[in-house]
């Protein structure tokens, strides 16, 4: 048996650590590329969203590289995600991969215990101690990666030489991936933290702050959004986002069952405009706008084309009395990079002017 999983950002690194610790045979599909997208778009039903198309492409490429068991998230999330596996399994069959099985990993139903049980089954009944320690190690890698990403988001806006932060990030990802045990991982973390700190910075700049929010997958998979965070960074903008896989895992698997809900604040903020969960991240998107309208200069709302929850959210957002510019970007296989960059430049110009007028207005009052 050979396990694989579709890509989402750098999520393969913690899973690789998990599989290695448990001594499971695995293969990581080739990095998401234009070929992945073409394969996905070719074999998917036309009306489907880009997360489906990209994960389908990944799954096909994983099957080509010899995987026979593919982990794929599923669950009752009101969006199409829960139905993905049904169709993807058929797509694989139609392509002749008859012995490849897609295993659903619960993201909403039986959560942690289900995930543990699935892994235990796949890991030839490894002992619970091994499984939990492997999980812990995987989670630490996940945290380390997200930490590096946060630093990158901050440094891109203020670095003197464009691209320095990206180089450090690439090195950090490599070091985290290579770390074999806790000690090496800690060393890698210390190492990249120091490197981020030593990046030469511009003096006296107060960068614009743009929040990134929207649908989980397109926010976290740089390929699907043309690495929008990097593009914003090039324009001298500091990017902030609340969606991180490590945060999501922490809450979804560990704290939510105990009754702690990090999203409750977002939901409460959204509730004057949207009272109930509409699936995907629709509720949270409205909440982000309401909650962050003072902290951020603007928001970029990422949504896959034909994503129902985000369409509802983008219909509701203009009516909130909390006022902050929102740029909705729809991601699909037809999207062009030049068009996106032009829109981002116009948006950033607008935000800069808005901040200037605000600043001048408050000056005049004094």
């Amino acid at each position: 048996m050979r396990i694989s999983l579709p890509h989402m950002g750098k999520l393969y690194i913690p899973f690789k650590a998990l599989f290695e610790r448990l001594d499971v045979d695995y293969v990581i599909p080739p990095a998401t590329s234009q070929r992945t997208l073409s394969l996905g778009a070719k074999y998917s039903p036309e009306g489907l969203c880009v997360p489906f198309k990209l994960t389908t492409g990944n799954i096909i490429e994983a099957a080509e590289s010899g995987a026979d068991t593919i982990l794929m998230p599923a669950g009752n999330g009101i969006c199409r995600l829960g139905y993905y596996v049904n169709i993807q399994q058929q797509i694989l069959q139609d392509l002749g991969f008859n012995n490849v099985k897609i295993v659903k990993v619960g993201v909403s139903d039986d959560k942690l215990s289900g995930l543990f049980r699935t892994v235990k089954r796949l890991a030839n009944n490894a002992s619970w101690f091994d499984i939990i320690s492997a999980f812990r190690f995987g989670l630490q890698k996940l945290n380390a990666l997200d930490e590096a990403e946060r630093s990158t988001q901050r440094m891109r806006a203020v670095e003197k030489v464009k691209g320095t932060a990206n180089q450090v990030l690439a090195g950090a990802v490599k070091a985290v991936d290579a770390a074999k045990d806790d000690r090496e991982l800690k060393a890698a973390k210390r190492d990249y933290a120091a490197q981020f700190e030593s990046i030469p910075q511009k003096k006296n700049v107060r960068p614009l702050i743009v929040g990134i929010m929207g649908e989980f997958y397109v926010v976290l998979e740089p390929f699907s959004n043309f690495d929008i965070e990097n593009e914003l960074g090039k324009l001298g903008v500091e990017v902030k986002r609340t969606t991180f896989v490590s945060e999501w895992t922490k809450f979804n698997y560990f704290l939510n069952p105990l009754g702690v809900d990090e999203k409750e604040r977002l939901h409460r903020a959204a509730s004057p405009y949207l009272k109930r969960d509409i699936g995907g991240e629709g509720w949270e998107s409205v909440g982000e706008k309401v909650m962050h309208h003072r902290q951020y200069d603007g928001l970029v709302h990422l949504a896959p084309f034909t994503c129902m929850p985000e369409i509802i959210a983008s219909n509701i957002m203009p009516s909130t009395k909390e006022n902050i510019p929102v740029l909705t970007v729809l991601c699909d296989e037809q999207m062009g990079k030049a068009g996106l960059i032009t829109r981002l430049e116009a948006f950033v110009d607008l935000l800069a002017r808005r901040r200037r007028t605000k600043y001048n207005d408050s000056e005049r009052k004094h």
Binding site: G47, C49, Q90, G279, M308, I311, I312, S319
Partner: protein
């Protein structure tokens, strides 16, 4: 008497007898919007972002046409009609979205229908809805029971007499005679697409004119539908999976001459469910299947040409066999 606006769109086609009876029993009057017109659709789509799906735009058009005609608009948020299934987000976001994009809308009566949360929660929601009209819980209970019964009578009638919804709503429309029909065609799709004559360019009428008998998911007993769903996909995932996957699987294996699947462009659940049916049709290779996608720009001529080609093919196929 309080007037309750009932937009003739989306779930209205499924539940209108239930809603009418419920509000009448509580001493209110249900005001139904007129059938969809181009003006309604244009008004509805002018309020929302372009990506919003066609049925939702139609719905908002209907709400706009009701703005001056009623005291309340009834917009339920239906999450599930049985355990462990979920519904498309547009149904859940509908009350809030309407409020956001139509600020001039009269107060919205929203009610959360979620069987997954248990019966007591459902009863509480119905009571909350009834409270707008009376404080007498028994009266609300009676109204709800009567509504429930009328819904089932309506469903049973469609199954036993094999009627399409337009035939039930308008008694003058007679079903095409089975004996004279040249072919039987199953239409698979949500009722709000099959029976909105503006949106689908009078599809049912056209098929009947071409000498075809039309059968739909409403003519099948719920048990037949759910067993068909189980056969094809196992546990249902969507609330209205019966209408697509159930009816599709049933008719593909049951002596109809052709199956036409109707979806709206960009419909999330349908993009997957219709694909399930399409794949099953391709696997069985017994019944021809055609899928039609409707959107605002669907041209009538194009639709008619495709229908003609499909029915011609069916007739030829029948003659040959």
């Amino acid at each position: 008497m309080k007037k309750i606006g009932l937009p003739r769109a989306l779930l209205y086609y499924q539940y209108w007898p239930m809603w009418q009876v419920f509000f009448e029993a509580l001493g209110a009057e249900g005001v139904v919007s007129r059938p969809t017109t181009p003006v309604m659709l244009a008004a509805g789509s002018s309020r929302v972002v372009a990506d919003t799906c066609l049925p939702a735009k139609v719905f908002l058009g209907h709400v706009l046409s009701l703005v001056d005609r009623c005291d309340y608009v009834f917009i339920p948020a239906v999450r599930s009609t049985r355990k462990n299934v979920i519904n498309c987000s547009k149904f859940l976001g509908l009350p809030d979205m309407t409020r956001a994009v139509i600020p001039e809308c009269p107060p919205i009566l929203d009610v959360d229908i979620d069987i997954g949360k248990g019966k007591s929660q459902l009863y509480r929601e119905i009571y909350r809805l009834g409270r707008h009209f009376t404080r007498d819980p028994l009266r609300i209970r009676r109204a709800a029971t009567a509504a429930w019964q009328s819904y089932h009578e309506h469903r049973d009638r469609m199954v036993s007499k094999q009627l399409t919804l337009s035939q039930v709503m308008d008694e003058t429309k007679k079903p095409a005679h089975v004996a004279t029909a040249r072919a039987t065609i199953a239409l698979i799709g949500h009722p709000y697409l099959l029976y909105d004559e503006y949106v689908n360019h009078r599809l049912v009428h056209r098929l009947e004119q071409a000498g075809c008998r039309v059968v739909t998911s409403e003519m099948l007993a719920p048990s037949a539908l759910s067993s068909a769903v189980t056969r094809l996909v196992g546990k249902p995932y969507w609330t209205y999976e019966d209408e697509i996957v159930g009816a599709g699987e049933h008719y593909l294996g049951n002596k109809v001459d052709g199956v036409i699947g109707i979806t709206a462009f960009g419909c999330g659940p349908d993009s997957l469910m219709m694909d399930m049916v399409r794949r099953q049709a391709a696997r069985l290779k017994s019944v021809p299947f055609m899928s039609l996608t409707l959107e605002e720009h669907t041209a009538e001529a194009g639709l008619v040409t495709r229908l003609e080609a499909f029915t011609d093919m069916l007739h030829r196929r029948k003659k040959e066999s």
